[in-house]
């Protein structure tokens, strides 16, 4: 049995220790906001927070997360920070097909909580591990910029 915290709730699973956290989140816990894109750590669609650090859930064997604090996109949806990001992505037109967006939002939140006033270069670096095949990058960068302004003072306190 592997025990960990998922979006604030203590959970247990008897899945194989080599099972990918991504599959567990989607199939066993039915949290389907986290997406599978490449399955090789190159696209960021499966991004989650592990102990508050952005990581690719497709590369994480669940045997290594015993006792860890995992947050998915569903887990941050009630936060004030998410609401600011949600609004900013809408206003900037950052969402096209939407497949990359949960990962993009996780990467945005990770960036802003570390660096509340990023430069454009820092924003691009922050989402460098996330691919958007609609290539809406400029609007996504605008969205993060907007979220930094609108959420001024909100990002420091994690």
């Amino acid at each position: 049995m592997i025990k960990f915290t998922l979006n604030g709730r203590t959970v247990e699973t008897d899945a194989l220790p080599t099972a990918r956290l991504l599959d567990l989140i989607r199939d066993e816990f039915e949290l389907i906001g986290t997406k599978e894109g490449c399955g090789e750590g190159e696209c960021g669609a499966c991004s989650v927070f592990v102990n508050n650090l952005l990581q690719n859930s497709c590369l994480i064997p669940i045997g290594s997360i015993e006792g860890a604090d995992i947050q998915t996109i569903e887990g941050i949806m009630e936060t004030q920070q998410f609401k600011i990001l949600d609004e900013s992505y809408s206003i900037a037109g950052g969402v096209q097909c939407g497949y990359c967006i949960p990962g993009m939002v996780m990467a945005s939140a990770a960036l802003l909580s570390k660096n509340p006033h990023p430069t454009e270069a820092e924003i691009r670096e922050g989402i460098s591990g996330n691919l958007c095949r609609c290539t809406g990058y400029n609007m996504i960068v605008d969205a993060i910029n907007l979220a930094a302004k609108k959420g001024d003072g909100l990002w420091q306190k994690k």
Partner: protein
């Protein structure tokens, strides 16, 4: 679920080492290479043919410290941890920033990059020019091996089944005013596997070259380095004469033998590798950046 696999995640390194002494296991640190290497289809766990030992949480493998003039880096430090650590030299941090992307840097480890022994391993050219040594630990004690001896070929390292790579040692890194560069050429800035990579190290005293080292990645089965060619430049004055630069480039032209693969071609790789070398040798300024 009929399938069963054995996996261990001990609280301490000594427990881990005694298990490794009893049983041949696959060691997993961040897993960013291992999980891709053994990847199955969606929903199916990767098939790893041996019992697994998770080591990424072991605090004994996450220490970073200075010992005399040497830097010791715990093998399970992630790239992000190294970026945030105050005693990691700036040149090494700058190189780490070019590796992968934030999410992978939060997971991938320096020791994992070494033990994966990819011909395109991102940290390897730099570790070669730093004359890095690896400290291997087992129930029988420690041994220290030069990185160039430890890495024997693609995915082949000289690690005994009962050993763990515990530390990476960068000798004399704190006493030298060296100028160090790292260059990586890939299809994308983030998350790309290198087509060619290059590390250069130069130390100048009174306009003369006191020490110089080069290593090339992704142009052979392991990193390409030549002490013989490096020696030819010792004592030469900076800026280097064109004839000296041409001589060194020609010498590497003979020993760099890349291949064609899905990422690049032999011709492109060789050209870019030699251009990076020429650019490094042509620099007028080699201010210490350590």
């Amino acid at each position: 679920m009929a399938e069963k696999i054995t996996a261990y995640r001990f609280d301490r390194l000594d427990q881990t080492l005694s298990q490794l002494n009893k049983e041949d296991c696959a060691i997993m640190a961040g897993g960013t290479d291992v999980m891709v290497l053994h990847k199955s289809r969606r929903g199916v766990p990767p098939k790893i043919p041996k019992p697994i030992v998770f080591i990424d949480h072991l605090f004994e493998l996450k220490q970073v410290y200075q010992n005399h003039q040497d830097l010791h880096i715990g093998a399970c430090c992630t790239y992000s941890e190294l970026l945030e650590h105050p005693i990691i030299p700036l040149a090494l941090k700058n190189a780490i920033k070019t590796i992968a992307a934030p999410a992978i840097r939060n997971r991938g480890t320096l020791g994992g990059n070494i033990c994966n022994a990819s011909p395109a391993g991102d940290t390897l050219p730099l570790l070669y020019v730093y004359n890095a040594k690896v400290l291997l630990r087992s129930v029988n004690g420690d041994r220290v091996v030069d990185i160039s001896d430890f890495i024997q070929g693609p995915r082949k390292v000289q690690r005994l089944p009962n050993e763990i790579l515990a530390e990476i040692i960068l000798p004399s890194i704190f006493e030298e005013g060296a100028h160090v560069v790292f260059e990586k050429v890939g299809n994308r800035n983030a998350d790309a596997i290198a087509k060619v990579s290059f590390a250069g190290y130069i130390r100048i005293n009174d306009a003369r070259i006191e020490d110089v080292r080069f290593a090339f990645g992704a142009v052979g089965p392991t990193m390409v380095r030549s002490i013989d060619i490096e020696k030819k430049l010792l004592g030469k004055t900076i800026p280097l004469a064109e004839a000296n630069i041409t001589q060194v480039v020609a010498a590497f032209d003979k020993i760099i033998k890349p291949i064609d693969d899905q990422r690049s071609t032999a011709v492109y790789r060789k050209n870019v590798a030699l251009n990076l070398l020429r650019y490094f040798l042509s620099m007028k300024q080699n201010q210490p950046n350590e």
